[in-house]
Amino acid sequence: MEKSEVRSIYLLAGFLVFAYALPFAVGVWTDSIFYDRQWLADLATVALSGLMQGGVYAMFAVGLTLIFGVMRVINVAHGELVVLGAYLTWVMFNMPEWLGIDVYVDPLLSMVVSLPLAFLLGYGIQKLLLNAVVGGPELTPLLITFGIGISLVNIVEWIFTTDYHTIPYEPDAIHLTASIAVGKNKVISFGMAFLISMSVYIFLKVARLGKAIRATAQNADVAMVCGINIYSIYMITFGLGAALAAAGGTLVSIQFGFNPETGLQYTVVAFAIIILGGRGNFIGALIGALMLGVIENLIAFMVPNGSAMVEIAAYGLMICTLLIRPRGLMGAKEG
């Protein structure tokens, strides 16, 4: 590693330590920290919940980073795919009631249907709209995904209206100690996120197709001369990215309210995460997601009016990472 590279990783690490220390410093300064057991338990609850939130973020981010890593396409419609996944889950959850059947469809079980559907949608989008423009100017695919995003919002609005929905899934608390609690649905979501992202990671590491995807990400031209049909890899990758987004959507639907317009904020969050973690790097996206989830909560908990500032966390991390080390924590160096 070059010297400047070594320096920049230390700088970034230093910056992150500073960023995490900042809410504590502000907390001390503004007297919002109480030095008792109860407060420490609250802090633990808050940090834990941030970690859980990070798991949901990870679902958005790994798909985005995968698509970017393989095709250098910034998928602006990613958040909309998340929302689509949320709606698919919601529809399947409510379907029995609409049909007058007395069956309980577990929202997580709906992924058996929603993930393949999202995969096919992503596959089709890549085949019909993006394959022709990948490798050209980067603006073109970006604008196409932007158009796809707007279309998705409008289609979903047209079908489901703009009403907010949510699924009341496992609403109770898990008490770790008398005073540290975490929502059951959050733990389940985190577990699902972990399971899904690890499966994808192992698939990329071990499976032959996964290796072909990684090879294409590293050098598409050489992948081609190895006999890999990169256009087919592109379609599979976008399909996989869309399925991961939809899985994130399922996790959103069982925790939060959503409507067709909710997608944009998830695109922004996912984007900030993959910049922090390193564009195109899978593990980087996971780490970035957890880091963002936790720091958002620390800010909200200790900084006065911190809940109004959580967006600064995402944007601030993103901008500072770009300034200090554009390739992020684990991203490959830009050629």
């Binding site: 919002s32 109860q38 407060w39 609250d42 609850t45 808050v46 919940s49 941030g50 939130q53 949901v56 910034i74 602006v76 980067e138 603006l139 970006l142 604008l143 707007i150 919002v153 609005e157 209206t161 703009t162 009403d163 907010y164 929905h165 949510t166 009341p168 609403p171 109770d172 608390a173 609690a181 975490v182 929502g183 649905n185 925790q255 939060f256 309210g257 959503f258 409507n259 067709p260 317009e261 909710t262 944009l264 904020q265 922004v268 989830g293 958002e296 909560n297 620390l298 909200a300 908990f301 006065p304 009016n305 911190g306 809940s307 109004a308 959580v310 967006e311 770009l322 554009p326 830009e334």
Partner: protein, 399 residues
């Protein structure tokens, strides 16, 4: 390449709203017609309550035309989509007034957008009733062409605060979205708390687009030993907050939201978690309120849209009633004359009497309801209460 494309991305996201002009869905004006126009959120985060505005307006205009229109003219409606966006709304109102030359203006949804649009309407002297705005600050800027019809934001938590006092709450947290209307209802909540001798241990806003995790904020309220949470919130935030209180096992004596619990989906989607939540309503489809015309409106609305109207639908209907009465009394569509009528007329609407004071604020009394067994039940003011309040909220572990 990468840096460049990110700049592009940011630019693209920034201009996203502008790229999407509002769409018109009303036909053009014939010769002998009256053009009634406005912009409402058909998409965006206000689309859900504003959709009920849209329902009431279209139903009212259809009925109006069926009984002969306004002063013998057929009414043509032109409602544009402001995408829940202030800038878009300003442009659309400018266009409606200057190029479409509408005869009557209908207000948008949300205090923030109304406040911005009022600058345009004021300039062109176009009077309107701000049926979608409850922030009194809008009327404290010396404007002459805007009139209030619903209870002001400062009073949204008035009933809940009185009830909190009654059950012995001493310390509260006031939280809410960081936008104009929730800020105004926060200001009102702080004022009522002070007046009733309740200590505010936490008053904090959260980012407008944050619809996810409120754990930190709720824990903060808990760690400061708040006994009740007053949340100036809409659907997504209010529902996430009450869910997360349950997930975290945070027990409060009361959870009072403003707009969210009034939406029909709130109790339905949240199920038992929504029980005991307090909300504010300008009006409820409850015959006991005794306003003239309520029964017919409720029945017509139900027949046409399949569900009972909520207060958003009601207040918009009332606004249309005042507009019709004003035009009839004025006898013309002259905007300045209509303004004078709006300022002086007294109309009995389905939500109560419209009669504004010298700065244009109507003295409307809102209602505080509680979700009891999945239904919104009026619990304050006492003279209109349908049932006794079920307070304090039981502990989550005891439910």
């Amino acid at each position: 390449m990468i840096v460049k494309s990110m700049q592009v991305l940011i630019t693209v996201l920034a201009v996203a709203g502008m790229l999407l002009p509002g769409t018109a869905w009303a036909e053009h004006r014939g010769d002998d017609t009256v053009l009634v126009g406005g912009a409402l959120a058909r998409t965006g985060r206000y689309a859900e309550p504003a959709g009920r505005f849209y329902n009431s307006i279209t139903m009212y205009v259809d009925q109006l035309n069926a009984r002969g229109g306004l002063l013998g003219h057929k009414v043509v409606l032109r409602l544009l989509d402001d995408k829940s966006d202030k800038q878009t709304s300003i442009k659309l109102f400018e266009k409606l007034i200057t190029s479409d030359k509408v005869d009557i203006i209908l207000g948008p949804y949300s205090s923030g957008i109304t406040d911005a649009v009022a600058n345009v309407t004021e300039r062109y002297k176009m009077p309107f009733i701000a049926h979608g705005a409850a922030s009194s600050v809008i009327w404290q800027r010396g404007r002459k062409y805007i009139f209030n019809i619903i209870d002001i934001a400062e009073n949204y938590q008035k009933g809940a605060m009185h009830l909190a006092k009654e059950i012995g709450v001493k310390r509260i947290a006031i939280i809410g979205e960081d936008s104009l209307f929730p800020r105004m209802s926060r200001k009102g909540a702080e004022m009522w708390a002070k007046r009733l001798g309740i200590e505010v241990v936490l008053a904090e806003n959260y980012a407008t687009r944050k619809q996810g995790d409120y754990t930190a904020l709720l824990q903060k309220a808990k760690s400061r030993r708040a006994q009740a949470i007053f949340s100036n919130s809409y659907f997504a935030d209010a529902s996430a907050q009450i869910r997360q209180m349950r997930e975290l096992g945070i027990n409060m004596m009361m959870f009072a939201s403003t707009v969210g619990p009034g939406l029909p989906r709130f109790a339905k989607d949240l199920g038992p978690t929504a029980e005991y939540v307090l909300g504010f309503s300008q009006w409820e489809p409850v015959m006991a309120l005794g306003h003239p015309g309520m029964g017919k409106f409720i029945a017509d609305y139900k027949a046409r849209y399949g569900g009972k109207p909520n207060y958003h639908a009601g207040q918009t209907w009332a606004m249309m009633q005042v507009v019709e009465s004003t035009v009839i009394k004025t006898g013309s569509f002259d905007n300045v004359k209509m303004r004078d009528t709006f300022a002086t007329i007294k109309v009995r609407t389905i939500i109560g009497t419209y009669k504004v004071n010298d700065i244009g604020i109507n003295n409307h009394d809102g209602l505080t309801f509680q979700i009891q067994d999945g239904q919104r039940v009026i619990i304050w003011p006492p003279r209109l209460a349908q049932a006794k309040p079920r307070l304090p909220m039981p502990k989550w572990s005891d439910r």
